[in-house]
Each structure stands twice: as C-alpha cells, then as structure tokens.
C-alpha cells in the first residue's frame, strides 16, 4: 500500500500540489485522473522521489519514503517499476538490453539468467522476436509494452505508469489497459496510473482520485464516478458529448 499524507509542492510562486492525501491499495489499479496541468505527473514524480515534496509524507507499506536521502532510498528502488509517458527506453540499447538493465542494477543474476528473465517479461507483454530491435524500430504501442516489460523485470512491489495510453490507438490502448490490470492482479503490485483516458477509467479504475488545479476534488471507484455530484469531475468526464449522451440514455 502507498499512502500520501498532505503532499504539497510548488514551483516558485506556483502551487502545483496542495495538501494531497490518498491511499493506494495493493493488487488494485489506482488511477489518478485530471486534465492537463492538474498536477498528476508532479504527484507521481513526488511519489517515486524524482521530485522532492515541499511538505507532507509518502509511505510505502508504512515505510516513510520521503524522509530518506538518495542512498537510503536505494533498497526501495528495486521495489519500484515505472513506465514513463514516452516509454523512456534507452536509445543506445536494444529491447533485450533495455529489459536486462534494471536487473544488472539490482540483482547478481548471470547474463543468461537476465536474458531468460527479459524473454519471460517480453512474453508476458505479448511481444516476440523483438529482442534485438532498437527502440527507434518499434511502434508506440510496442515501446509502451517494452517499457512495461522493463518495469516488471525486477518483480516490483509498486508499479507506476504515467499516461500509458497517450498517443496510442483505441485498440492498443485497451490492450495496454488489460495488460496492466492482469499484471497488477498476477504480481499483486500496488499500481498507480496517471491517465485522462476515460475508457481506462471505466475499464480498470479500481480506485480513482481526481485532481483539479493541484487539489484532490474527488475519490472513488469506476462504479461511482458517473454518479458523482462533483461539478469539476462531471465537467471532466462528460467533456465528450458522445459519452454524455450515452450515459444519459442508460
């Protein structure tokens, strides 16, 4: 479980996050939704320690992560897998080496063991015969899947995905959503996903928090979201006329 307690972050005079508290449960897909500039990515970067919080605390299974320095965080790093918006695959390494990279950092596995693990992870994300390809030779969806394979390679307890559906066609987007849901349940990870994709919200949102102007405005599940009375949330989820009409019909 990941717990956030009163997280605040500002850049200069601009308040980006204000007093955010939330809890993300193990084995569930926890979604952070909100419009562009609502603070989703900053919140995720604060959670994983890429940005330091100005105030508040982040707990990983009751262990205070935000109070630790760079060295002390090292053991936590092995437990964290992150998929960045663009994949963030290393351009100079092929797919196999990309997935083996975190294993080299965190484990004493031999090269053949690392290669086997990389192949297992690639199979898990339904990719075959791409081991020797370089990131520049992959499509957007394949990059995302390789990034997921790299993130799950060291068996992380906590999985973070920053807008995994952005720039993908609807079919690939659904494929990624299902994959993340399956991995979360199979590996019992605490998964946190930043998204503004309403399809993901409805399909895989076990728990959802809605950010608006750096503050948490709503918290609930995909079953409750459409019946919410929160005006900002309603504006966000019913921005699509088609969706609004469909829900009205139902």
């Amino acid at each position: 479980m990941i717990e956030l307690k009163n997280i605040s972050k500002r850049f200069g005079e601009k308040i980006v996050l204000e007093n955010i508290s939330a809890a993300f449960e193990k084995g569930k897909t926890n979604l952070v939704i909100g419009g562009s500039g609502s603070g989703k990515t900053v919140l995720m970067k604060c959670m994983v320690g890429l940005l330091e919080v100005d105030s508040g605390e982040v707990f990983f299974d009751a262990r205070n992560f935000s109070s630790l320095n760079f060295k002390e965080r090292k053991p936590f790093r092995q437990e964290i897998g992150m998929v960045f918006q663009g994949g963030a695959l290393f351009d100079s390494l092929n797919v196999e080496r990309n997935i083996m990279f975190p294993l080299s950092m965190f484990t004493d596995m031999s090269d053949s063991e690392k290669r086997d693990r990389a192949n297992d992870c690639l199979k898990r994300v339904n990719l075959i015969n791409v081991n020797k390809l370089f990131p520049s030779e992959l499509s957007g969806g394949m990059k995302k899947r390789v990034a997921i394979a790299r993130a799950i390679a060291p068996n992380p307890k906590y999985l973070f995905l920053d807008e995994p559906n952005s720039g993908l066609d609807p079919q690939t987007s659904i494929l990624i959503d299902n994959l993340v849901k399956e991995i979360t349940e199979e590996y019992q990870t605490t998964t946190v996903i930043n998204t503004h994709d309403m399809n993901s919200v409805m399909e895989i949102g076990d728990k959802i928090i809605f950010l608006h102007k750096g503050r948490k405005w709503w918290e609930g599940s995909n079953m409750e979201i459409t019946s919410s009375k929160n005006n900002e949330l309603k504006d966000f989820i019913f921005a699509s006329k088609i969706l609004r009409e469909l829900l009205e019909k139902n």
Binding site: K45, V48, L50, F70, R73, K74, R77, Q78, I80, M82, F84, Q85, G86, A88, L89, F90, D91, F101, P102, M105, F106
Partner: protein
Amino acid sequence: MGFSSMGIVAITSIFMGAVITIQTVYNLVNPLVPLWAVGVVTRDSIILEFAPTMISLVLAGKVGSSIASEIGTMRVTEQIDALEIMGINSSGYLTVPKLSAAIMIFPFIVVISMFLGILGGWIAGDLSGVISSAEYIRGVQDSFVPFNVTFAIIKTIAFAFLIVTISAYQGFYTKGGALEVGRSSTQAVVFSSIMILVFDYVLTQLILA
C-alpha cells in the same frame, strides 16, 4: 570519443602545418635568419599552440555538441528519470565514462595532429618550393624541447575536461524539447570554446611564463 573525428583532425592538422610553413617563409625577410628556422617555428607553433588548442576547438564542436545533444535528448525523453528511478546517480553514470574516455583519447589525437601538422608543413614547403626538405627537416630537429610536448598534453587534458563537463552540464539541464536540445548543443560548443581559449591563456601563463 574523438576517434571518429580523426578525419577532420587530419585535414585540419595537415593544412594548418602547410599554412604555418608558407606564412613563416613569407614573413622571414631577415637574411640573418637561416631558412631552416622555418622548421623550428612550424614545429613549435604546432606543438605548443595549434595542435592542442585548434584541435580541442574542433573537438569541442564535434564531441561537445554530440555529448550535449545525447544527454539533452535523454533528459527530454525521460531516459535520465528512468536511470534515477533505478537508483543510479545519473550525472556520474553519464559523465564519468565520457570524461575518462576524453582524457585518455584526446592526448593521442593531439599527438597525431602534431605529427600530421609537421608533415603538412614539410609537404607544402617542398611542393611549393619555398623551403627544401633538407632545410625543413634540419629545422624540425633543431633545439627540440621535449617539455613542449608534455605542456601540450597537459593543456589537452585540461581542455578534454572542460569540453566534456561543460557539454554534459548543458545537456543534463536541458528543459523542453527538440529545439532546446539544439540550443544546449550550441551553448555547449560556445561555452567550451570560450573556456578553452581562457584556459589556454591561464595554463600558458602558469606553466611557461
């Protein structure tokens, strides 16, 4: 790191030596100064100044911009964040191997440049007929000071350090997208070149004066 720049280094060095030789002959109007002195002037100019400084400026353009754009692209595509998530000290991880390679390889390139520069002067002098091979070679062999080569290597190591650290810094703190990566690359070359010239003066003042 630098070996792919050997082509431009070779061309620069040969023509640099050729021009120094011809210009020195052109300016040598005093009949009391023997013609073989052209060899001495060419050799010392190349060893002390042209090979380390000019070639470092060339390498600042080629290697420096390459480092800044590579690290800058890694920054804007979140590859550096991906390294940090894995608990890697990204600045050290990305900079130290490049710095070690530059410090080890640049002196070799500069020594090759010295050789090619002196060779270029010889060929140009002989082909244009302004100085005979025998006189040029006599000049090149006359009153050679080995410390000059050591001094050139010291300068080159300092310049290698400047090129890599300045370029890596520019790349590492890139913010934005492709346009900013290009800007970082340009700034890396400009700042490296200025610092090379400043340190050229400082080191010459400290060691030779």
